[in-house]
Subunit: 344 residues, 2 copies
């Protein structure tokens, strides 16, 4: 399968300064705090009901990047916070994220055939839902222990918005009338709401003025949108495919993401009939994913999705401008490029 | 189908003093407060995402008894509370209960065939899970608005315990080795934890001394256990069947409740083979439910489950003893009998 980049030689090459090193640098700067977060996570996902740590551990211990809690840690330290409250709140953020993943993976009758090895595939829908509920409740217990009503407000609001975004996404699924604005509303809620809460909490525990709190909120929000745009592009990435990563999940579910919206709107009648059959009727054949990717290439849908991500990434970096220079500020700015450049 | 009562003429008859009137009397005493609760529920289950109020309304507006929020209202007023905070907290309790119901109804692949008209049957598993998450988050937002860290602690703890209880129940399903103690652990967590939080909150908002808070906790807890015991008996009730109510759901799922535990343990080898085939292997035939009910009658499993409920009901009523006499105290005591006597 041809690499996307080779189809468009004018596309700028991956910059050397924004490779995986950015992630490593941020990880190193918050390594001690992250050790605390990991200890809290392990301790607090425990339950006498053995299935809970088993199932939660399957996801939590499976080596995600811990990007969201890392953002809380880095934001708090960049704001000069010297305590340890932020590590417990970072664990809350990760618990909420994990609960969301568990619930997001619950499948409907119609998509049971996907049969991938998510927690619900191993332990069943019901166990995934209930362990998600446990982690979610545990996150609130941790917040109550922290005792800040402001933090509780930020995270309970974020949780409600995430759920709203996920429901909104359900109603756009299989609907090609979904506009770019609808799509942005979905990802602003289902993904960016937790990113923005994660970074904002850093300013809150450091008791910084509202200007800085708003700046960190904007940083998280725009980074979250960029992150999801890239994620949605990657689901159609020929490069991911050549790396052996699974692609096409969104396609098989009929999830209407920006690459589809762009390719559909830019295409002719033939293209639209193809998108309608595959995404709305879910009538899919063996080579349909390849054809979808080919249409996206032809209409530059992949590249333009990444271009949109760069736009939000630029806003995220600019939101950091009012903070004085520091290794953490630099690392947070670099993580924006890392999140975008992982795409190709 | 014969009535259970007629099989055992020595079983005491339903008392005239504890008919549906007890529910009506309690409802009347808290009617004004409940109007506030209903207004809060309607207002706060709203979302710009239309599917959320649609799906939540399906369950919330379908005319449940609102027993749990009623307990919060009655407990607070019995404690002399004169404000309105308790109505918002009662709405939280109902939201948590509704979220639990939505998540509880999510089915696994194995039980899809049940196909009843719960929210998940109408809108799918995923929508039920996500709207449950929304209601759960909304409950925490309401609690944060109330601003009491103590209430937040009680309800976040209760939520975690409910989830633990539901997971524990999953692991006892289809397992006839489940003991009465295991079963009590499950219902103490999945049902009684919310009852006890609901009544305890009444004492907390009224700022009563810890002795009264503990008494209301004990009242709620024991009432919750009695309530679930009766609920589990009703799933095998010939009287319910003659009233046209659906019975046998627990049987079809292989849920190990006390009537099964008692009938299984008191039965001979033949009986045990029957229980093993139907509850563990879920190999069920048309007349198996009738046979299960016949075995329960023969071994007095139904009556003894109700007898256990009476034991917890007596403890619930005794927990009220330290409060001075009042119409609300009387109504709360009567509601215990109402919960038990609805069984036959």
């Amino acid at each position: 399968m041809a690499k996307i980049a080779s189809l468009h030689p004018e596309t700028p090459r991956r910059k050397d300064t924004t490779d995986d090193g950015a992630l490593t640098r941020l990880q190193q700067l918050v390594a001690d705090d992250m050790a605390e977060v990991n200890a809290t996570i392990l301790e607090r996902m425990h339950s006498p009901v053995a299935l809970i740590p088993q199932l939660a551990g399957h996801l939590i211990a499976s080596g995600g990047k811990r990007l969201r809690p890392m953002l809380t840690l880095a934001a708090a330290r960049m704001c000069g916070y010297e305590g340890l409250r932020h590590t417990r709140l970072a664990a809350c953020v990760e618990f909420i994220h994990t609960a969301t993943l568990l619930h997001d993976d619950v499948v409907d009758e119609s998509s049971l055939r996907r049969g991938r090895e998510s927690a619900n595939a191993v332990w069943g829908n019901k166990a995934s839902v209930l362990v998600g509920d446990f982690l979610f409740s545990r996150a609130f217990e941790l917040m109550v222990e922290d005792g800040s009503l402001k933090v509780l407000k930020v995270l309970s609001r974020a949780s409600a918005i995430i759920a709203e975004g996920e429901v909104l996404q359900l109603s756009t699924t299989n609907d090609l009338a979904t506009s770019e604005e609808d799509y942005l509303k979905v990802i602003g809620a289902k993904t960016a709401a937790l990113f923005e809460a994660a970074t904002r909490i850093g300013a809150i525990v450091a008791e910084r003025p509202s200007e800085e709190e708003k700046a960190l909120l904007a940083f998280g929000r725009n980074l979250g949108i960029a992150f999801q745009l890239v994620d949605d592009a990657l689901d159609y990435s020929a490069r991911e495919a050549t790396l052996g990563k699974r692609i096409g999940d969104d396609f098989r579910e009929g999830k209407i993401t920006l690459p589809v919206i762009l390719a559909y709107r830019r295409g002719g009648d033939d293209d639209r009939r193809f998108w309608s059959r595959t995404m709305e009727d879910l009538d899919q054949r063996d080579d349909d994913l390849a054809r979808a990717m080919e249409l996206m290439s032809r209409h530059r849908a992949f590249e333009d999705t990444i271009a949109r991500a760069r736009h939000y990434g630029a806003m995220a970096r600019d939101a950091l401008a009012l903070f004085p220079g520091s290794p953490l500020k630099l690392a947070l700015a670099e993580i924006v490029d890392f999140c975008i450049d992982r795409a190709w």
